[in-house]
């Protein structure tokens, strides 16, 4: 029982990170129907940017995060601008285009920071809390807290601001949105930038938990992606539930199957998605003939 809870708690920290990655995916997907396969690489750039500022410029960790978010936000703008001619035309091509961007970002990271990567010391180094015999890493709590704050901020932005409402309108019908005077391109660009910013937040938070290297994006991105699909693509609360679910599955598989955890996670994911292709909270889309 104790092992079970320990695994559960261990999965929560990563789950929060996956949830942030999934939220970025979902935000971009719901506004422009595009799945950004470079998202994982943006997370990796965010992790590098934050940890580099933190370790070499000796700024506090929580100051380096906004800087990293700015950097990736700009990258997001560039990706969106380059792929804009394909928007609402050919999603498969856009998907491949983002894979191309992923390759570019990964090689740029290797050129800038080298192929070996670096470890990042935890910015919160207090002893783990002991709660009924379960050890809680303080840093995991910090991650959970920040992820929750980011979620609330995103939801408020989407629901309470004019810009957010405009993005929702574009998501529902980009032609109608154009007709009422919304600049669809700009709205998409902002969605992309925010998504990339969330990626940097996820990357920065995960940096002290993992070893930061250029291939970090691959598995983080795919797991975040799996989380987004599991929660129902485009659904923000779903992304959080999906993220936590993948985090727990990951942590459980790591405990039970050790090195084979990735294999188990993806097989389980495939089976779930076969049974419910629309995810847990996704809307059933109807083919309109």
């Amino acid at each position: 029982m104790e092992v079970f809870f320990q695994t559960l708690v261990g999965g929560l920290g990563f789950g929060a990170v996956y949830a942030l990655v999934a939220m970025g995916f979902s935000l971009v997907y719901r506004t422009m129907g595009l799945v950004n396969f470079a998202h994982g690489q943006v997370v990796m750039i965010g992790a590098y940017a934050a940890s580099t500022f933190y370790m070499s410029a000796h700024v506090p960790f929580f100051v380096s995060i906004p800087v990293a978010m700015l950097v990736t936000g700009l990258i997001g703008l560039v990706i969106e601008r380059v792929l804009r001619p394909l928007e609402n035309k050919d999603f498969d091509l856009m998907l491949i285009g983002t894979i191309g961007f992923g390759m570019v970002l990964e090689s740029l990271a290797t050129i800038t920071w080298g192929a070996t990567g670096h470890a990042v010391p935890s910015p919160v180094d207090t002893a783990p809390l002991d709660l009924f015999g379960i050890r809680l890493r303080t840093y995991s709590l910090v991650v959970l807290g920040i992820a929750a704050l980011a979620t609330v901020a995103l939801v408020l932005f989407l629901q309470r601001t004019k810009r957010g409402a405009a993005m929702q309108a574009v998501a529902m019908d980009h032609e109608a949105a154009t007709a009422v005077g919304i600049h669809v391109g700009r709205s998409n660009a902002i969605a992309f930038a925010i998504g990339a910013g969330l990626a940097a937040l996820a990357g920065a938070l995960v940096a002290p938990m993992l070893y930061v290297n250029p291939t970090l994006g691959g598995s983080l991105g795919i797991k975040g992606f799996a989380a987004a699909i599991l929660g129902g693509f485009g659904n923000i609360p779903g992304a959080i539930v999906g993220g936590i679910a993948i985090g727990l599955l990951d942590s459980y598989a790591a405990g039970r199957f050790q090195a084979y955890s990735e294999l188990v996670v993806f097989l389980v994911f495939t089976v779930i998605i076969m049974i419910r292709p629309t995810g847990l909270f996704g809307e059933r889309t109807v083919n309109r003939a």
Partner: protein, 597 residues
């Protein structure tokens, strides 16, 4: 065509003499490039022809390489026995990876296949049977009638022959019935099902073909390098392979080969700057999808298009008049349609409630009603796109609800779509050919075993397609892309495509939408002629003039239920209908005057 054969011959000869000009390292690089070319052809078949995003191609490659390695070194099988078993294993994995494609498409499929590829790498790096991160060495040299295949020069010729056969087969599949059905599915899976292409089987076929090419590549790789390790089958290589296919042109088999060979060689040239090479490939992929989505293979066509546009002022193609068929083709009068008690709910929304109607053989039936009254939903149910919540429909006594669209197409049911669903990246001729092709998927056994049968059937189809295009006056547009044609011609093409399936019951969903007055007149003539040739016609239409003059009987739907059923003259004067259709304050004398003779 003659030029093409000549070019192939020249390339073949050049490839045959290539090793004489290469050093030992050069030939190794070329041998590896051939393996990648095979992989790229498989990926091109799945992605470019079949439209299935497949990011597990390296896993197919890996499964077969590892199968050869394990079976030869650990189980003691001979190389060629292992090779055959490895192909079987790759095909089985292809089926397994393809199963998700039955339920999801596009990016979902991309992530699932990528996840499965990662699962495969995870397994090979950790399992003891695969030798973990060290891989497996000591794969025996493939024996071949005493030819020493440890020489990479001689191995090159084995590869070349296998590759030539594989390339020929891929081209053959892509340009005949099977490939045409796959392209139709890629362009519009709903419409492909409606013209009789079995979409689920085709999706699996795309994955099995991809996995077989991956399998052949894996066997050749194992025999060439005689050592397998996880990094060969990494995601980075998957993306490299994707770059090859995109840069070369995914919809062209030759383009995939060009891309694969070019990038393999470039990668070797830039081996000391591999990171910069990856950066460059990524940049080129991004530029390609934005600027030249058809890849290198599409560039000649684009150039000729520009040149031709400059040279000839305008292409003088004209829509010829429709030529009515002389007599009923099989003497039949069409099929009767009986709908009884159909209800359809989308979550809370009741789109149809207890709808019943029956259409007699040889009738032209109009279905009218305000927008949102459930007309198209009814068509979607009858044509197998939706399932029903309750009730059933039958055509000539055969229950059609609960069957897939392609099965219904075989029963003699055809339809058109409200918003036009032509196969956008295929020519007009191909659009018709897909529908004319009534062969069962079982007939695909002839592809490996009796290709001449396929060619003969192909020739026969083309003759019939020519006749059909002639009849519909579309001959001048046979090679045009549907999207480049005026709207009225596209509408007519859609009817021609539906008629190509040889239906006994034809459902037309708003066939007059967007047509001008003259075209509506032609449509009316076409529909009558179709009925006279022995086909029952049901049409949804908002053009009341057309409905009133054309239809034998009219069914009126409102808010998901039938509110009237009768001859046009009877229906048009019913107060209920007038209220539902026009609102109660409208002056209805005009319509009444138009209808009464």
């Amino acid at each position: 065509m003659r030029y093409r054969i000549g070019a192939f011959a020249v390339l073949g000869i050049a490839a045959w003499f290539l090793p004489y000009g290469l050093g030992p390292y050069g030939i190794h690089v070329v041998d590896i490039a051939v393996v990648f070319a095979l992989l790229a052809v498989g990926l091109g078949l799945a992605m470019g022809v079949g439209g299935q995003i497949n990011l597990a191609q390296v896993a197919f490659f890996g499964v077969s390489s590892y199968a050869v390695a394990i079976l030869t070194t650990r189980a003691g099988f001979g190389f060629w026995t292992s090779a055959v078993l490895a192909l079987v294993a790759a095909a089985l994995v292809g089926v397994f990876v393809g199963i998700p494609a039955l339920r999801m498409q596009s990016h979902y499929l991309g992530i699932v296949t990528l996840g499965l590829a990662l699962a495969f790498t995870n397994w090979v790096t950790n399992s003891t049977i695969t030798g973990g991160a060290d891989g497996i060495s000591g794969i025996p040299i493939p024996p071949l009638f005493g030819i020493d295949l440890s020489s990479e020069y001689l191995y090159y010729y084995v590869e070349l022959i296998v590759f030539g056969l594989a390339l020929g087969f891929a081209g053959f599949v892509a340009h005949t019935g099977l490939g045409r059905r796959m392209r139709a599915m890629r362009d519009d899976s709903l419409a492909a099902g409606a013209v009789g292409a079995p979409v689920p089987v085709l999706r699996m076929t795309a994955f099995v073909l991809a996995s077989l090419y991956g399998g052949v590549a894996g066997v050749l790789y194992a025999g060439l390098v005689r050592y397998v390790a996880p990094e060969t089958f990494s995601i980075a290589n998957m993306f490299l392979l994707l770059a090859m296919v995109i840069i070369g042109g995914r919809q062209s088999i030759l383009g995939c080969v060009v891309g694969a060979v070019a990038l393999s060689l470039l990668r070797e040239v830039l081996i000391d700057f591999s990171v910069y090479a990856q950066l460059g490939f990524g940049v080129v992929v991004v530029l390609m999808v934005v600027l030249a989505p058809t890849g290198l293979a599409g560039i000649p066509a684009r150039i000729t298009r520009v040149v031709r546009r400059r040279r000839t002022a305008e292409h003088h193609a004209t829509l010829r008049p429709f030529a009515p068929a002389s007599a009923p083709t099989d003497g039949g009068t069409g099929a009767g349609l009986a709908i009884s008690g159909i209800s359809k709910q989308f979550r809370g929304l009741k789109a149809l409630q207890d709808v019943s109607m029956s259409v007699a053989p040889g009738e032209i039936r109009g279905v009218v009603g305000p927008n949102g009254s459930g007309k198209t939903t009814l068509f979607n149910i009858v044509s197998g796109i939706y399932t029903v919540s309750a009730g059933s429909a039958s055509v000539d006594g055969t229950v059609v609800t609960g069957r897939r669209p392609h099965q219904l197409s075989r029963l003699g049911l055809a339809r058109t779509f409200q918003n036009l669903r032509l196969f956008g990246q295929m020519t007009v001729l191909d659009n018709v050919l897909v529908a004319l092709d009534r062969s069962s998927m079982w007939a695909a056994w002839r592809y490996p075993l009796w290709p001449f049968g396929i060619l003969r059937a192909e020739r026969d189809l083309r003759v019939r397609a020519g006749r059909l295009l002639d009849q519909f006056g579309l001959t001048d547009f046979a090679d045009a892309a549907p999207k480049s044609l005026p709207y009225g011609i596209q509408r007519r093409l859609e009817i021609a495509r539906a008629m190509a399936t040889g239906p006994r019951l034809l459902l037309l969903d708003e066939p007059a939408a967007g047509l001008n007055g003259e075209e509506v007149g032609q449509l009316s003539e076409i529909v009558r002629s179709i009925r006279d040739s022995g086909v029952t016609v049901v049409l949804i239409e908002h053009n009341m003039g057309l409905v009133m003059s054309l239809c034998d009987r009219v069914t009126v739907l409102a808010s998901g239920g039938v509110i009237a059923d009768g001859t046009p003259a009877e229906v048009a004067v019913l107060p209920k209908v007038i209220e539902a259709y026009l609102g109660d304050s409208m002056n209805t004398n005009d319509i009444a005057a138009e209808v009464s003779p």
